[in-house]
Subunit: 158 residues, 2 copies
């Protein structure tokens, strides 16, 4: 059951096209997040957990440092601790101390986590294709181009 009922145009207060662009980006992303939540809840994970697992899955076999994973996600270090706690509880990840630098904690994906991630990735590919049928392929490329340009522009402002 979703929260989204209909699309409102609730921004009379916006004048500039820059404003509108940001708001439409946010709105699109909110709807997308909503859909992602629906999708991932079928597997009892969140999209953050999925991101974490994918990074670990496609990463090195010896595992990865927590902060190394954190750098690739928009997640603070405090949050990584909790994230790993919960993933550990689900049996998808385990912790290991780095023997050469005992400050570091290495996260390793378990066999259970590996096969789980493979399964979700496959279903995610099918799912994301199915929800993106509204755009033609050239529109998708166009959109990706614009988004990457924005990302480059935004990352400088941070």
């Amino acid at each position: 059951m979703s929260k989204v009922k209909k699309l409102y145009e609730s921004y009379d207060w916006v004048g500039e096209i820059a404003n509108k662009t940001i708001i439409e980006l946010q709105k699109t992303a909110e709807i997308l997040t909503e859909l992602h939540n629906d999708f991932f809840s079928r597997f009892d994970i969140s999209s953050t957990k999925f991101n974490f697992l994918v990074i670990l899955y496609t990463g090195y076999d010896e595992g990865m440092m927590l902060s190394e994973i954190g750098e690739q996600m928009l997640v603070t270090k405090a949050n990584i601790t909790g994230l790993v706690d919960r993933l550990e509880k689900q049996g998808y990840v385990k912790r290991k101390r780095d023997l050469f630098d005992r400050r570091k904690v290495i996260a390793m994906i378990t066999d259970k986590g590996k096969s789980f991630t493979e399964k979700v990735i496959e279903e995610y590919k099918v799912w994301s294709k199915s929800i993106m049928t509204i755009l033609e392929d050239d529109e998708k490329s166009q959109l990706i181009g614009l988004l990457k340009k924005i990302q480059v522009g935004l990352i400088d402002k941070i």
Copy 2:
């Protein structure tokens, strides 16, 4: 201080362009959310609180039903209760019972909330313009067009 360090291309696992589109949308939105948080934290609010206030500000003078506001935001009714609690504590909003249907709760924006919202809106306009300089105006229109198309497509899938 922000979490974002650099832009990773961490999706070797993605094949389809539909996949990439969604991931780039998410990534863009995450960076944008991060920037929004930085912006709004200067005013001691979240972007959700701002949304709420703007809807109330541009709405009817007699206030609005909580669920009516909720319909325009991607927020569950349980969350609205807490949101209004916190906004009430900040003095920007007050509650009122609907006399004709006592199930309903009306949220009213206070004078303090009104002038606060006006101030934030003005600064938001300047801010959003400044962070969107990377795109030309015709690119922005193009992007808005694509985003609206996606929204229409996605809303059907929910």
